[in-house]
Structure formats: C-alpha cells, structure tokens
Amino acid sequence: MPGVATPQKLLDLAEDLVSYGRRKGADEVEVTILDSTEFNVDIRLGEIESLIEAGSRGLSIKVIKDQKTAYGSSSDLSKDSLQKLVSRAVKRAQLSSPDLYAGLPPKQRIDHDITALNLYDPHILELTPEDKINLAQQTERIALQDKRIINSHGSSFETRVIKTILVNSHGFSHAYDETYCGLSLGLQAGRTDEIVEDYWSCSKRHFNELEAPEAIAAKCIARTVRQLNPRKIPTQRVPVVFESAMTSWLLGFLFACVSGVAVYQKTSFLQNKLGTKIADDRITIYDDGLIPGLLGTTPFDTEGIPAQKTIVVEQGILKNYLCNTYAARKLKLASTGNADGTGVAPHNFYLTAGIHAADQIISSMDKGLILIRTLGHGLNPVTGDISRGAYGLWVEKGEIAYPVSEITISGNLGEILLTIEMIGNDLEFRTPVSGPTIKIQELMVAGT
C-alpha cells in the first residue's frame, strides 16, 4: 500500500494494530508481518524460459478473547482494511469455544545476538539479473555437454530476501532479516521409452557457500545416469542402505511423529513414549535453531519463543517432543521454540554422524538395496507405517550391480529406528532436516 515503506513504518504498523486490537476488547493480540522480495529465473535448453521478480507483503493476526481464538490475514496493508480485519477477528473469536490452553506465551526475552546467527547476506542483493541468469545457464550448459543426457527439465536460480516482524501484546517487538539463494537442475537420460531422470539442487543463506555450477551439474548427471537400464527384482526382504538424502527424508517423517502437535492430537505412534527406548543406542537426534548460517536457523519462532538446541533422541531414548506453546501446555511440557503457525516446524533437525564411510556401509552388504529416491505418499504417522514407490541400486557382494526401478519399500518407522545397523560419517546440512548414510537391517522390497 502507498505510504508504508520503511521497516520502521512496518514495525509501527504492527504495534499500532496490537494496540487497536486491545482497544477493541481482545485480551491478547499478536501481529506478524512478512515483507519479501523474490527473484527466480528458469533456463531451459540455454534460453530463458521464465523470469519472475516481485515483492510481496502480508500481515497476519491472532486475537484471544476470553480464552477463545481467531486468526486473520491480509495482503491489503491499508490501515482501514487492517483495522476492520482485527475488529472482525475479535467478534469472530466469541464464536470459538473457550479453550483453557489457548493464549500467547508469557513475555519472552531474546538474549542471543540476532546478527551473530548470520542469516543475512548483503551480497545476494548485489547480484544483477545477468549474474543470476548466467549461473543457471552455465549449470545447464555444463550438464548438456554430457552425451548421455538427452533432455533437460531446466535449471533455476532463485533468491529471496525476507523481513519478519513480530509484535504481541505482551511487549514482544522484534524484527529480523534473512536471505536465501538456490541453484537447481533436472535432467533426463536414456531412450525415449526408457527415460530416467533426476534433480539436484543446493540452497544456502549465503551466496559464497552455494555449490558451483560445475558441482551441481556433475552431481545431477551422476544421479541421473546411474539409473540407466534399470531391472526389476523379485519381492524379498533385504538390508537397505539409505543415502543421506533418503535419511533426511526418513527423518522428515520422524519429525512429524515427534511433533508435540501430533502427540497431543493422538496422531503419532510415539505418543506416551517419552523416556523410553525408541531407537538403536547409536541414534542421537537434535533439533538446533542456533547454528549460525544454516537454513533452519532462526532467532525466534512464530510465537516469539527464542530458538534453542533440543535433544530429541539421546542414544536411542526419546527425550523431547518438539512443541509450540499450545502443544506444550496440552502435554504439560515447555515449548521448544518450534512454533510454525498452529503447527510446528523443524529448525536444523539432524541425526548425528556415525563412524563409517558411505563406501564401507555399502560394501558391508552381501546382497541388498541402496535406496536413492522414493516416489508417492504412503507415510502414516498414526502407525509409523511406510509404503513408498522407490528407485535403488542393487548391491551384490558389496558392490553396486545394477539400478532397479518399479519397486516399493515398506516397513515401519518404529522398527526401522530400532534396526539401524550402521551410521555414516557424511552428515551435511543441505536441508533443515538432514542425516548421514544409514543401513537398515532389513526392509520388505516388493518387485515382481
């Protein structure tokens, strides 16, 4: 909207709206403003396919009156329409039911130094559109020089700069800036009716940490062509090695099951398991929101609770659920600073590295599968059951024999955690949820 331009004005707008909500009768008010700029270029077969550049702003509110809650959000930031949004929310709150557990967290202090978290890279703002286009073009060009690559899904470069402002009626009023940049590529190889494909990408907060176009292209080519000429395999139970990206996928499912929200809602198989053994002794898992510069790092969550380092699983024992304020009150625990709206989100959620090199893990299998990609849905947090389409590499006598496709893997997360036999030393924080290569004793692999 015209008139609101500077960060200070956005902070003032949020503070005014909190006061306005209180004047309209709300007991508690929380206002969040996200102000972001986005750039994205897609290159395909050397040419620009699309280029997007834009700025957007959105404001969201939470009001509580008599322990009843209502939410609102708007991308129209004119004062008049925002005040109406708040007034309507206060009225609407009265139609919700009283909820003993509702309400903002008590007043919070942010003790850590936000700039030391290293979330913002001014260099990203200095990149010209040409720089960004070149990066994507170069990545794809390098990949297409490989004769085995027959087509490209294209490469993309994107940047995002986000300002987050959070103000609430308990006197919390903080803002922080963060940046992201990402380079990605998708390739196809093989004959028309036997196409294989894969993607690779790198995403960082700091431009100088981004992998070079050569590295992205090489990794994407290798990931694609290793799937050429796949075979089908008979249905059987075998040891399965999860590549680190697959371990990250598995940990994403575990996160959904240690979510305090899922636990109080009785939709997690890990309900009532706090303090009990849920995994092999070698398994230790943290959620850490304070590691400088990582994708999952943040000074505070969406309720203003400071981020922290939480031990989730310690040597196989489930130590903590990850909670927002509401889930914590329900479970009589403390918030772990993982609020994300009415749900929870991971910070840097990771399985600590083990001692084995990935090669060593593979060569330990006389016969087995390396899981390289999965496809589809098929995760059930209520039971922990997993059933997914999969792609893999078949291992015989400790060596990769051939790629396999049209298989499914199935198992149960609870059983998998207890039967992790080896843990790799290759942990990298590529995504907010990450883990090293692992080997599972046995999973059902369905084929012919």
């Binding site: 280029l51 209502a70 959000s73 893997i409």
Partner: protein, 479 residues
C-alpha cells in the same frame, strides 16, 4: 439473518480501483520492449476456515489476499512481475519487470480492450455462497460432522472436522483485447477420525464440497454422511491386514481410483511436458497407447465440480477435452503459450495457484469413461488379487513411472472381497498399465470433492473419476 437467494450475489466486484485507461497504459509498458503478448491478472480472494477438534471449535480464520500479476511472452520466454501493492507506480514497476524478458523488436501496441460480450455459461450458479453466510451456520455444519463421527462407535478416540470456504474474484486483461472475469466459490467440509483397539490405531477420512453453496450439505452430502464415513473407515482399518507384496491382478474401485488416471495419464498429457519432449507421450500423438476400450476426458465444465471454472486463469473459455479415444492419443491439455508454440487450439487448461504464479497447463476434472462390464462380474473374474478402494494420493514422473498410495482396500479371493487391507503402494509405468486395463465397468463415479493437485509448487483444486477397472497385473508394495 435474512438469507437472500439469488445467484447474482456472486457478481464480479472490483477491488483494485484501476481504470481501463490504466490497464491500457500498463499493457503498453509491458509490451514496450517488444514482447509478443502481455496480460494482467487481478485476483481478490477471501478464505474462511473453521477447525474443530478435542470437542471444541478451536479457531476460525479469515484471510484476504489481493494482488496482480503481469506477464509478458516473447517467443518461448515469459517475464513475470507481481505485486500486492496496487498503487499505479508499483503496478507499472511490475510491468517493467515483466517487459524486460523481451528485447530488440519494435514495440507492439496493445489492442483496445473489449470485454467478452457473449455470455459465458455459469457452471456454478449457487444459492448460498459460503462467504456470505453467518459463521454460526458454518460452525453448525462442522459440529454436525464432528459429533456424528464421535458418537459412531466407542472405539473412536479422536475426531477433527473442518470447513474451508473461499471465493475468488479474478479478472484477466490481455493485449489481444480480452477482458474477462470469473467469480469462483469453493467449499470443502472434511472429517478425520482415529479409532483405537488393543493399542492399534487407524485413521479414516471423508469429505465433500465443490463450487457449491451451503445448500449442498442439505441436498447432496450431509455433514452426518461425512462424519459417518470417516468413522467407518477408521474402524474398517482396525480390522485390516497389511497387503501381500508382489505382482498380482488389481481391481480399482470406481470413483476414488480416478487418481490413477490423474497420475498415470493426465499429468503426462499436459502440453508443456510434451512441447518440451520430457513426457513419454510427446511423440505418440495419434497413436494407439492403450486398450481400444479406453476413453479418457478432462472436462472443466462439469457443473459445481471442484475442478471446474467458467474461464481459465488466462481468460480462455474451457472445453471438455478428449485425451484418449478408443485407446488412441488424441489431445493434450493446452494453455496459451503451449498452444501457440505447438500451433494447437487452446483448450482452456491454463491455471495458476494465485496472482504470484505463471499459468501452466493443468487438469480440471479428469476421468475414464464408462465401459460395458458389470462391476460384480469384474471382481468375480479374479481368483486371487487386490481390490484398491481409497487412496492417500499419487505421484508421477515424466518417464511415466507412477505410484499411488492405497489407504484402504480388500483382498480378492475366489472372486470375492475378503480381508480388509491397509497401507499398500501400487507402482507401475503408464503405457504398460494402460495396456493392462483388461475390463472396464459401467459404473463411473467421481472421487471426493476435496482433492488438490500440485505441480511446480502450485496447488489447484481438481477431481478425478473412473468406473471399476481390472488391471491384469500390477506390482503391489506390501509386507
């Protein structure tokens, strides 16, 4: 509260305050670097949400989004700028961004705007648009679904019911002189239930809605039906066994199994994947790719369906589009860009999630047409196999490999449905499976009016449908 019941309450209303003169200027800026085509997309959307769980109405949400996207096409390139700041300088800046994609040529001049005159048929003339109804009435629908599921059986341990409603006002203006509007209502009422027995827990789900008014829940599908079905499914799954693993004959239930056609065929017939030659189908137009009994359509004009629209997000009036006729590949789902580059006719399948997104070819309501077999006979023809009933969803890659996750099904033994089965994954390759469709039932149905499809990060409401189908052999992922 007095309820006025006239469809005209869904007339287009402007929330932007920009004049035709402004639009003309914006289009001229967008074309100033020599683009072939420019377009302004204006969107105003109100979303409402009510959530009930743990016996209380936990929260209500109202969200308003307003914004405008400007697109310029130059050859195969697309430039895009968007903003939710509707001041003329910001809008012009977005036009400059979009224009930058083109270079070199003499600027084109936009045609003078000419609003679409011929009346566009309204596929969703509704009586009681949800966003105009009192919140109390909507809360009551949610409570009815919740209570029904909760009371259905003592084993039901947890219920969650929610109502999501929205109305989207869109206007598309382009340099060819098009100026068209649509007002799209959308509702879904869903219920999720968890049943528990002997420390085993299972979840069931049901829901309904579409581009309908609240009258739908008294005429078509009641909140009680939704609650009952969610509870029944969770109880059914408590008795379910894990499926056997391996290749076997598979019978797909009518309706819900439409997700198979969505994944195995629909996505790969979206024109962009074929123009880019990444879809397995790109060189197969006119060829026999399936059994000759198979006919597949995508139809955005089915009245009141979740996937329907009066105009697509590029202002094109959509058409029922044949994709496979008697097993032959006859059509693709086109948007403007692909249609122009492929020299094909537009089919009205250019859709976008919201104003911040570039339109791309998408499905709407996709279905396999009915065949001649009696569904009972189809099941009877299987000595030992798997019956897939309800699904969590599916996914496909351009290579044609797809999976779909079955949340609930049955074993087939000696031509009869026997033990209930849970959590299976079906996997296959599309052309292979299309040629293994052995029998098609005469019982076409559509799945739940609650589905959302994702492509390139954009969500779009869709439905899909099919009759009972028998697949000769398919890999079932089990235990």
């Amino acid at each position: 509260m007095e309820q006025t019941a006239h469809p005209s309450s869904l007339a287009y209303t402007d929330h932007f305050g920009l004049t035709d003169d402004d639009f003309q200027k914006i289009l001229d800026i967008a074309l100033s670097r020599g683009g072939d085509f420019a377009e302004i997309y204006l969107e105003y959307k109100i979303n409402g949400f009510i959530n009930m769980e743990e016996d209380i109405v936990k929260e209500t949400v109202e969200s308003i989004s307003l914004g405008l996207g400007i697109r310029v096409i130059s050859g195969e390139k697309t430039g895009y700028g968007y903003t939710n700041d509707i001041s003329l300088p910001k809008v012009k800046a977005a036009a400059v961004t979009a224009a930058s994609i083109a270079s070199g040529r003499e600027p084109l001049l936009a045609s003078r705007l000419s609003p679409v005159k011929s009346p566009i048929p309204n596929t969703y003339p509704i009586l009681n648009p949800a966003h105009e109804q009192p919140l109390e009435d909507k809360i009551s629908l949610v409570k009815r679904a919740y209570r029904t599921a909760q009371k259905f059986d003592p084993k039901i341990q947890k219920v969650k019911a929610s109502l999501l409603d929205s109305v989207q006002y869109i206007r598309v203006i382009n340099s060819e002189g098009l100026c068209a509007t649509d007002v799209r209502p959308l509702i879904k009422l869903t219920c999720f239930a968890v049943a528990e027995k002997d420390n085993k827990r299972e979840a069931g789900y049901h829901g309904g809605g579409g581009r309908v008014g609240l009258e739908y829940f008294s005429k078509e599908l009641s909140p009680e039906d939704i609650g009952t079905e969610a509870a029944r499914e969770s109880l059914h799954l408590l008795e379910a066994v894990l499926p056997p693993a391996g290749e076997m004959p598979v019978v797909l239930a009518p309706g819900h199994s439409g997700v198979l056609i969505h994944e195995a065929v629909g996505h790969l017939l979206e024109a962009d994947f074929n123009r880019k030659k990444t879809s397995i189908f790109w060189d197969k137009m006119g060829q026999q790719v399936a059994k000759s009994t198979l006919n597949i359509y995508d139809d955005p004009t089915i009245p009141y369906f979740r996937g329907s629209y009066n105009i697509d997000d590029e202002g094109t009036i959509p058409q029922k589009t044949p994709l496979l006729i008697e097993g032959r590949l006859v059509g693709l789902l086109q948007d403007k860009l692909s249609a122009r580059l492929m020299e094909a006719s537009e089919t009205g399948h250019g859709r976008r999630q919201d104003f911040s997104c570039i339109p791309i070819p998408r499905m709407s309501n996709t279905y396999i047409d009915k065949g001649e077999y009696d569904p009972e006979e189809i099941i009877k023809s299987v000595a030992k196999g798997f019956y897939a009933h309800k699904y969590q969803g599916g996914q496909v890659e351009d290579s044609g490999k797809f999976t779909f996750s079955v949340s609930s099904g049955f074993l087939i033994e000696d031509g009869k449905l026997t033990s209930p089965v849970k959590q299976a994954t079906l996997i296959g390759t599309n052309i292979d499976i299309l040629n293994k469709v052995e029998k098609i039932g005469h019982d076409i149905q559509f799945g739940l009016q609650t589905g959302t499809c994702g492509k390139e990060g954009q969500a779009a409401p869709v439905t899909d449908g099919c009759p009972t189908l028998k697949i000769t052999r398919m890999t079932v992922g089990g235990h």
